[in-house]
């Protein structure tokens, strides 16, 4: 692990440059995610500024970018629609508290139990939802809207081949906003959906009654936000770990995310988390240290203060194009191969996660269902015992414990055994508990009644130990 000085100042040039690149790429996303959530663009912009700045100090993964994100924005839609912005800010603060507790109680480790299939389903569902959120902003509005979305997409995918330093979304925004203003095409703009305030965020306490009722309203949202935020943050941390060949402190990151959201809520920002796409951009642009995240946040705020007037003039179709690119980039395209190659049960878990999220519009429900489903599949798989016969040798395959004993006992009940002397081979099995020993005992008794001699062979030491503990009962027969 690098020391703190290294984490801050080990890569000054690279971090400053990449921080600027990320700030430019963050602005359209922060605005678009605010629109998805149904709040003013400033809520997402303030959130991105504050979260990035706080996480630069409090996070556990240097070089990772956190800000307002799509996953979180999608979760808050009903809360904002039914109760308004102040409740969102209160929920954001509570999200922070929950995440801090997660960090303190080292819940980051528990995230290891979320299987790959669920994580793949998570990113795919997120990509689909981000895309679906764009539909109302470009389908059936005007022909010119379609044209602008198409041109934006063409620019986004061809420009990076020729211009590597400036992010393509920024060029698309500048050029197409210019075209839209001078041509006078009738296009919806960011300004139609909200306003930009050219001032720094200020501290205020959300205007909600301090009552149990408020808590009842916001707690379910906060819990979902806390879980989803942490899940995406820890996934992103792993990706950044892999890209940079370094390690990170996962529990510190969980706590850091909490601190960032807690503070954001008091400054009028919405809950956020780490962003896979932006973090990848940061690392690719040379960012490695905490400085890159800090610069990204500060430069974003600076740009809004200076250029806020222009930001409201960005045509919506351009933003839609950028979001379509984000959703294409978020989707895990190797999933199709995965569906064919992965074990059936994994493929089902992945699909179930996606389908549940798409229907409920709630990533946390999909993750929960996915985890439960894969736990059930795991139990079914592990509790299956297969026995193969080889001469007078019966080979047990699988684990023998309370959930799997039925299959084991049934096999010997049904088997028609001709031999007088048989062996039960435990080289591919292990006895885990008293139920396992009990089942073996039951089988041995019933075989004895039929006049068959049983010898147990190749049993491993730990199974033997469990059997020996029950030795008194065994020999009494």
């Amino acid at each position: 692990m690098q020391n703190l000085k290294q984490q801050w100042f080990g890569n000054i040039r690279g971090d400053i440059l990449s921080g600027i690149v990320v700030a430019l790429a963050l602005i359209p996303e922060a605005i678009a995610f605010s629109i998805i959530a149904g709040v003013d663009p400033m809520v997402g912009l303030y959130a991105s500024f504050i979260i990035a700045v706080v996480i630069a100090f409090a996070g556990g993964r240097p070089g990772m970018i956190s800000a307002a994100t799509g996953a979180m924005a999608l979760l808050m839609v009903p809360l904002i629609r039914d109760y308004g912005l102040d409740y969102l800010l209160a929920a954001t603060i509570l999200t922070g508290v929950i995440q801090i507790l997660f960090g303190v109680f080292k819940v980051a480790k528990v995230m290891k139990f979320v299987p790959n299939a669920v994580m793949i389903g998570f990113v795919n569902a997120l990509a689909i939802l981000i895309f679906m959120a764009q539909i109302e902003h470009f389908i059936g509005i005007s022909t010119m809207t379609y044209v602008f979305v198409a041109i934006t997409l063409i620019l986004l995918y061809t420009l990076p081949r020729f211009i590597k330093i400036i992010p393509a979304p920024l060029i698309a925004i500048v050029v197409l906003t210019g075209v839209a203003i001078y041509s006078g095409f009738d296009l919806r703009t960011v300004g139609d959906l909200g306003s930009i305030t050219q001032s720094l965020p200020s501290f205020f306490i959300p205007d909600v009654p301090f009552s149990f009722e408020t808590l009842q309203i916001i707690f379910p949202y906060s819990l979902s936000l806390a879980i989803v935020g942490l899940l995406e943050s820890l996934l992103t941390a792993q990706i950044v770990d892999d890209m940079t060949g370094t390690e990170s402190k996962k529990n510190q990151e969980a706590r850091g995310q909490g601190i960032a959201n807690f503070i954001t809520g008091f400054f009028g920002g919405m809950a956020g988390c780490a962003m896979i796409g932006q973090s990848v951009i940061n690392v690719k642009s040379g960012g490695r240290g905490r400085l890159s995240t800090l610069i990204a946040g500060i430069f974003l705020m600076f740009l809004i203060l200076v250029l806020g007037d222009l930001v409201v003039q960005i045509p919506m179709p351009v933003l839609v194009g950028i979001m379509i690119m984000v959703s294409i980039g978020t989707f895990d395209w190797s999933s199709f191969k995965y569906l064919v190659k992965a074990p059936r049960t994994d493929a089902i878990v992945m699909l179930a996660t996606v389908i549940i999220v798409v229907f409920t519009h709630d990533l946390s429900k999909g993750v929960l269902a996915g985890v439960l489903l894969s736990a059930i599949f795991f139990v079914v798989k592990i509790s299956t015992v297969k026995i193969t016969k080889d001469g007078n040798r019966f080979i047990v395959n699988g684990q023998l414990f309370f959930a799997s004993t039925d299959g084991f006992v049934d096999y010997f009940k049904k088997a028609e055994i001709q031999e007088k002397n048989i062996q039960i081979d435990f080289s591919n099995s292990r006895i885990w508990d008293d139920s396992g020993v009990g089942a073996l005992l039951k089988v041995m008794d019933s075989l004895k009644e039929k006049g068959i001699n049983v010898e147990i062979v190749d049993i491993d030491a730990s199974s033997k130990k469990i059997m020996d503990k029950l030795d008194g009962i065994l020999t009494s027969h």
Partner: protein
């Protein structure tokens, strides 16, 4: 002679051909080491992380991808070590070679035609131009 030999590998047949030449050269000098460099593209990280359970599992997967070359070097009975780098293959190989001041860079060529080279860019060509030491491109 050539003590520290960098062998750039993408796990392909081209890399195995390059490895054969590396072994020939390494066997000329006592205690020379072949440093096998395998570069993982940044864009691969996301799907690799999503599709494997842990960083250890990712490591095993990547070793598997490079196994043809490793197998060949094992059989050839030479001194070698493996290094996994992250980023764009060309620049990363050049940076590593120049930082570590290796004595020789050996790299296989994919044998692209003129059009493919224009679109995809030739890694071996870029590496050859930018390293500060002799480079051997194996066809």
């Amino acid at each position: 002679m050539y003590k520290h030999i960098l062998l750039a590998s993408d796990g392909s047949e081209n890399a195995v051909r390059a490895a054969k030449e590396a072994v020939k050269i390494a066997s000329c000098t006592q205690d020379s080491v072949i440093d096998v460099i395998y570069v993982v593209d940044f864009d691969k990280s996301k799907s690799d992380v999503l599709h494997s359970g842990s960083s250890e599992a990712i490591d095993i997967e990547r070793r598997k991808k490079n196994s043809k070359v490793i197998q060949f070097l094992n059989d050839a009975n030479v001194n070698y070590k493996t290094t996994i780098l992250h980023g764009k293959p060309g620049p990363e190989i050049v940076k590593y070679a120049n930082d570590k001041k290796v004595d020789l860079v050996i790299i296989g060529s994919r044998g692209l035609n003129a059009l493919q080279e224009m679109v995809l860019g030739s890694v071996s060509h870029k590496v050859m131009k930018r390293v500060n030491c002799p480079a051997l491109i194996v066809k």
